[in-house]
């Protein structure tokens, strides 16, 4: 069952019951003067409101107006309790007497929407309802008679009979009610003033009837106070007026309903609806959920449904009918509604909706066409990178469009301003002239310059008349183009300079540039190539294969193959070969051949070459030097170690001599600290300090340090540091093994010491011999002579004897002196040479001597002396110790040396450590870089052999 039916079923019988009750109460009232009139008025007015309300409720169930009309009707009829004769019922009527007025005010303020629009209206209505309840109830609790009516029943709800309290309360609520009444009036006036004309048409009758009723009530209050009859007449009139009020409400509401159908349609359907949205809106407005909305498509020449499917219109049936919506002007179909046939009974509504739909569809189509056209225009305008202005003939900007950076001011500031206010005076004047030119003269052009954000920009404006009143100005910003042109010129100049530079570089660079076509035929080559090969770049060589011009016979085939390899996909071919100059010289050239594309897009061969002739020569020389140095480093007895600054042995390692001396290999030493490697533990600090000082100061200082090899062998090494060279941060430790030299030096020092000692010994011996020998004899001789002198007179015989003894003594002294002199240096050696001196020695020797002195020329003095003393000492020793029977003495030259040998056949077994005599001789021989050797096996005799070199000593010339 539909809700409206339940409404009627429920409320209509209730209405009749209440109306009947109110009529009975009024008619039977014993305190109502116009009982019959009231018995008619109460139910009639009540029914008028309730029935109107039910109709409105049924037709506009969503609208509260119907409900409010019903409420006013029922509350009005409840008012008839006032007429009851029973005190309790009468009292209730007194309590509820003003409620219908509150409902009426509510109705007035809610009409025609049926709900209160603003918060102020809602608060006002709440206040009205509160006052309506309280203003009647409170005073009724304090007065025995709730009205001035004496016949009225006594008030059973009386709490305390206080006329003053009741009056005070009534006066208070009268004031409050008056204020609210004024407020309601103000609100109604505001609603009227805020209403649209269409709404005023709805509100007008209602406000008029309500106003008349209110005026009648006001007059009734005034008149009834002094004329009962007048009051009664006015009361009837007021009742009648009040009874017509709901009819005006109902009329206004139904009028509004028709108006609202179209409005709802527009309201419920969004702008630019989809067909489905339109269909949903129409279903809602027309209350037909089965409705189909069909749209006419010109392209299809037919209708489509909301989902776009083509639909054929079906003939009408008793249940389903089609209402077409055609264009009014020419009857061209726009759309169609397929709906329930029952809607035909609401023809007005249907027509209203069809009209609204037609209007909307036509508008929509027109708008769509306009929009498409505008969109196209806008797209066109947006696509133009220029500025666009619409300017009225008087110079007022109507529209502006374009990039902000090209605008002298923001768009919103420009629009509405005049060109005189926006542009500099001279530009504005040009604009004004162009704007003033009549449309018939066509497009005007103005070029101008503006400074925008500190930047100068150039523009060209084209003034296109658009109607009589305005001109469209299309402005092109030339700034970027001008800047681009400037930049282009600058770049061109740069390119030209670079070309010139490149040309110079190509000609000046020490590189051969040779350009050939892709068959290898010479096109041109640079100055360097011309000078290097002595071949001028002219017609004689151009067009010839480049290999025929620059390469010797044997390399031409290989070069020719390069072109083929490049064609096969190789990007670049590098080669080093000999080229040939015009004069036949061969040059070593490092060349690369590659394809290049020239300015005209042709593939060319670019041959770049570098003359390495000199470099190759230098390299070979360097390699030879390197080899030489490597050999030297290997062959030198110097110890060489390459080290880093921190003392680590560098990768270059050590040389052969170092490896030999220390026993280390390169692998063992590289990376190790130099001092850790060679220094004995107790000397590591010292060696490191010496190393670091040399690195620090850069001064080489020779250090003598013991080095210890891998096997623990010690050697004394003099070493120092040298930087490896200007191109390296490394150093070379250079060392010399001086162990032998040190031993020799020690031996030399000992030898010198012995020579000095020997000389001292010889002098002591000489002094002793002189003192003990010749000197003593001479002293005795002197004493003997003095004794003889004293005796010569007294004892001539004694004196003679003394003198004879003195003569003998003198002979002895002479002999001793001679021997002594010979011991100091044999005169015969000086005078007669070595063979004669040796013969003298042999002659004096106590052992038989066999002498063989095979020396033709005189020898250097020191050699003769050394040889002499060797033989003399040896013969002395033979005499003293050898117990020999014979001695063989030989002296001869051999290979620039003198060899002297004394061999006896004695007992041998001489001490291998030379005695002091022989040691002195050995020193003498070694001082002459000779050698002395003693061989003395037990029982095999003793051989003393001296070998003394003659070289380096100037031989004494023969006498």
């Amino acid at each position: 069952m539909r809700p409206t039916y339940r409404l009627w079923l429920g409320l209509f019988p209730l209405m009749l019951l209440v109306a009947a009750a109110s009529a009975v109460l009024a008619a039977s009232s014993d305190h109502e003067s116009g009982a019959i009139a009231q018995a008619i008025a109460f139910p009639m007015i009540g029914l008028s409101f309730v029935v109107s309300g039910l109709i409105a409720w049924t037709l506009r169930p969503e609208n509260g107006t119907g409900r409010l009309l019903v409420a006013v009707g029922f509350l009005w009829m409840v008012n008839s309790l006032w007429e009851a004769n029973d005190g309790w019922v009468y009292g209730l009527g007194a309590f509820a007497g003003s409620l219908f007025l509150a409902a009426f005010v509510h109705l007035m303020l809610a009409f025609p929407d049926g709900r209160l629009g603003t918060t102020l209206e809602r608060r006002t209505v709440i206040a009205v309802w509160a006052i309506a309840v309280i203003a009647n109830m409170l005073p009724a609790l304090f007065t025995r008679h709730t009205s001035d009516c004496d016949d009225c029943p006594a008030n059973p709800y009386l709490i305390h009979d206080s006329r003053a309290a009741a009056d005070a309360l009534q006066a208070f609520f009268a004031v409050v009610g008056g204020v609210i009444f004024v407020g309601v009036i103000v609100l109604l006036i505001r609603r009227w003033r805020g209403a649209t004309p269409a709404r005023r048409r709805v509100l007008g009758p209602v406000y008029l009837s309500g106003g008349i009723t209110a005026a009648l009530v006001a007059v009734l209050f005034v008149v009834s106070s002094f004329s009962d009859r007048g009051g009664s007449i006015l009361g009837v009139a007021a009742f009648i007026a009040f009874g017509t009020v709901p009819l005006f409400f109902l009329a206004g509401l139904l009028r509004d309903r028709l108006y609202r159908a179209a409005a709802r349609l527009l309201r419920e359907v969004p702008d630019e609806p989809t067909p489905e949205q339109a269909q949903a809106g129409l279903r809602n407005v027309l209350g037909d959920p089965t409705l189909h909305f069909l749209t006419w498509l010109d392209e299809l020449d037919g209708y489509v449904d909301a989902r776009g499917n083509p639909v054929e219109l079906q003939p009408d049936t008793p249940r389903r009918v089609t209402t077409r919506i055609d264009r009014e002007a020419d009857g061209h179909p726009l759309a169609a509604l397929v709906h329930d046939a029952a809607l035909l009974h609401q023809r007005g509504l249907l027509d209203e909706v069809v009209s609204a739909a037609r209007l909307a569809i036509e508008k929509d189509r027109g708008l769509q066409a306009l929009r498409r056209s505008e969109t196209r225009s806008r797209a066109l305008l947006d696509a133009i990178p220029d500025l666009m202005f619409r300017i009225a003939r008087d110079g007022t900007y109507l529209e502006a469009k374009g990039r902000r950076e090209s605008m002298i001011r923001p768009t919103e500031e420009i629009v509405g301003s005049n060109v005189r206010d926006v542009l500099p005076p001279d530009v504005a004047a040009d604009f004004a002239r162009a704007l003033a030119v009549p449309a018939a003269r066509g497009v005007q052009t103005v070029e101008y310059r503006l400074t925008i954000d500190g930047q100068t920009r150039d523009f060209e404006g084209r003034f296109v008349p658009s109607g009589d009143d305005e001109v469209v100005v299309i402005v092109r910003d030339f700034t970027d183009r001008t800047r681009l042109e400037d930049e282009l010129s600058r770049k061109l100049a740069t390119v030209e300079r670079e070309q010139e530079f490149t040309r110079n570089v190509v000609n000046v660079a020490p590189v051969i540039f040779l350009l050939a076509d892709d068959d290898g035929r010479i096109m041109r080559f640079n100055d360097t190539a011309q000078e290097l090969f002595g071949i001028p770049d002219d017609e004689r060589v151009r067009g010839k294969p480049w290999w025929d011009v620059f390469l010797p016979e044997e390399h031409r085939a290989a070069a020719q193959a390069h072109a083929a390899r490049l064609d096969a996909g190789e990007t670049q071919i590098e080669s080093r070969s000999e080229w040939q100059a015009a004069d036949g010289r061969r040059l070593v050239i490092d060349a690369s051949v590659r394809h290049v594309v020239d300015g005209e897009g042709h593939v060319r061969l670019l041959i770049c070459g570098q003359d390495l002739t000199e470099l190759v020569g230098q390299r070979e020389e360097l390699m030879a030097q390197r080899d030489f140095l490597a050999v030297v480093a290997r062959a030198t007895p110097s110890l060489l170690v390459a080290v880093e600054r921190d003392g680590t042995v560098a990768v270059e390692g050590v040389n052969y001599a170092f490896r030999e001396l220390t026993g280390y290999t390169d692998e063992e030493v590289i990376g190790a600290r130099f001092w850790d490697l060679v220094a004995p533990p107790e000397l590591i600090k010292q060696v490191r300090k010496a190393f670091e000082e040399q690195v620090e100061t850069g001064v080489s200082v020779e250090n003598e340090t013991a080095w210890i090899g891998k096997s623990g062998t010690w050697r004394i090494v003099a070493w120092w540091l040298r930087p490896l060279g200007a191109f390296s941060d490394k150093f070379i430790v250079c060392g010399t093994d001086i162990t032998e030299r040190k031993a020799q030096e020690a031996e030399l020092r000992a030898s010198r010491s012995r020579i000095v000692e020997a000389a001292d010994d010889a002098r002591m011996r000489l002094e002793r011999n002189l003192h003990d020998g010749a000197q003593q004899r001479l002293v005795s001789l002197s004493l003997a002579l003095r004794l003889a002198q004293a005796r010569v007179r007294e004892d001539p015989d004694g004196a003679e004897q003394l003198l004879a003894g003195a003569g003998d003594e003198l002979q002895h002294a002479l002999a001793e002196l001679r021997e002594l002199a010979r011991g100091i240096h044999p005169a015969v050696l000086t005078d007669r040479g070595l063979p004669a001196a040796l013969e003298a020695l042999a002659a004096r020797a106590p052992v038989p001597v066999q002498l063989s002195a095979d020396l033709d020329d005189r020898l250097p003095g020191p050699v003769e002396a050394a040889a002499y003393y060797v033989v003399a000492e040896a013969l002395t020793n033979v005499a003293k110790y050898a117990e020999a029977s014979s001695v063989e003495v030989r002296a001869q030259r051999q290979n620039g040396r003198v060899v002297v040998e004394v061999a006896d056949d004695g007992v041998g077994g001489a001490d291998p450590v030379l005695g002091s005599g022989l040691r002195g001789l050995a020193d003498r021989v070694e001082a002459l870089e000779g050698e002395l050797e003693v061989t003395s096996a037990v029982g095999a005799g003793t051989t003393v052999r001296a070998v003394i070199p003659l070289s380096g000593l100037q031989e004494r010339p023969a006498l």
Partner: protein, 118 residues
């Protein structure tokens, strides 16, 4: 007649000195050829004069002088040498000897002069 002990390792000098001193009136008490025997002879003979060679095979004359004087201060030690007296510097004077006479200048007078100086 003063007695003399002649100390020298050269027999030829001892003979010459005996002859010269005896000729000059001295009595030769004895002869010695080295330092040790000279000290022993002096202890035994107590000569008035000891003619002592500076250079002896075992001890030098100055050492012998020191030891002789420490045993018996009565003898006059006269040092002789074939060298010149200046060769010995202050040694002669500090040795406690009566004096020095070069061998080549030996005479009874020279010895007497030294005894008298004492």
């Amino acid at each position: 007649m003063p007695t003399v002990l002649i100390v020298d390792d050269h027999p030829s000098f001892r003979a010459s000195a005996r002859a010269i001193l005896e000729a000059d009136g001295f009595e030769i008490a004895g002869e010695a050829e080295d330092g040790e025997s000279a000290i022993a002879a002096a202890g035994r003979l107590h000569p008035d004069v000891i003619l002592l060679d500076v250079q002896l095979p075992d001890l030098d004359g100055f050492e012998v002088t020191r030891r002789l004087l420490s045993i018996d201060g009565g003898s006059c030690v006269v040092l002789v040498s074939s060298r010149d007296g200046s060769d010995f510097g202050p040694l002669v004077e500090s040795s406690g000897a009566c004096g020095f006479v070069p061998k080549s200048e030996l005479s009874g007078d020279a010895v007497t002069a030294l005894i008298c100086e004492r």
